[in-house]
Amino acid sequence: DQQVKQNSPSLSVQEGRISILNCDYTNSMFDYFLWYKKYPAEGPTFLISISSIKDKNEDGRFTVFLNKSAKHLSLHIVPSQPGDSAVYFCAASARVVTGANNLFFGTGTRLTVIP
C-alpha cells in the first residue's frame, strides 16, 4: 500500500563525508519528487526537488538523483555537517498526470552527522 519507501530508518556519517539517503517508489505515475528535512517539534522543511524529466538536480551541498527505470531516487549531501542531523523524508506526487498535488511520503530516515 505504501507507494514511497525509505528502507533505512537511520544513517550515521562522519562530518565532512558524504551522506546518501535512498528512496524507492512503486507508482509509475509519480512525476515530481521532493526531499524534506525535519527537526524535532517542527514541521517538514522543503529541501530540494526534481521533476521526472530530469535525472539530477543540484543545490549547493545537496544533489538529488532520479533513476526512473529503477523507480529510485537518492539524496547526496556533501560535505555533511552536524547541522544536517535531522529526519529526511522523501515525497512524491503525480501532479502532471492526475492534476493532484497531494504528496506521498516515505517513513523517513534519521541522519546523524558525527562531529
Binding site: 524534506y36 517542527e42 514541521g43 522543503f46 526537488s49 498535488n101 504528496l103 506521498f104 511520503f105
Partner: protein, 115 residues
C-alpha cells in the same frame, strides 16, 4: 513573511470527545493541505483545499473528520468523536496557487493524543 501556523501545538483529549485543530496558511496561498503522521509511520495526505473549496478529500479516514476553510483563509479540522487511533501529529501545509515547483510549506504540527 510568517510561515504556516497551527494551533494548538499539543492536545490531549479522552476518547469520545471533540477536538478542533486550526491552521493559518502563509498569506496569499490558495492551496491548503492537511496531513497526518501516526507514530513511526509515513506522513499521510488527508485533504486539499483550493481557496474555500475542497479539491481532494480522498485521504480523510472517515466521517468523524470534518475540515472547513471558510473565506479561503484559515482552516479547521474537527474530529468528533475522537478515537484512540486518531492519535498522531496533524500537519498543515500551504502552497501558492501558481506554484510551478510544487513544494508545500509545512506548519509545526499539532500533536493529538487520545486517551
Amino acid at each position: 513573511e510568517a510561515g504556516v501556523t497551527q494551533f494548538p501545538s499539543h492536545s490531549v483529549i479522552e476518547k469520545g470527545q471533540t477536538v478542533t485543530l486550526r491552521c493559518d496558511p502563509i498569506s496569499g496561498h490558495d492551496n491548503l493541505y492537511w496531513y497526518r503522521r501516526v507514530m513511526g509511520k509515513e506522513i499521510k495526505f488527508l485533504l486539499h483545499f483550493v481557496k474555500e473549496s475542497k479539491q481532494d478529500e480522498s485521504g480523510m479516514p472517515n466521517n468523524r473528520f470534518l475540515a472547513e476553510r471558510t473565506g479561503g483563509t484559515y482552516s479547521t479540522l474537527k474530529v468528533q468523536p475522537a478515537e484512540l487511533e486518531d492519535s498522531g501529529v496533524y500537519f498543515c501545509a500551504s502552497s501558492p496557487g501558481t506554484s510551478g515547483a510544487g513544494e508545500q510549506y509545512f506548519g509545526p504540527g499539532t500533536r493529538l493524543t487520545v486517551t
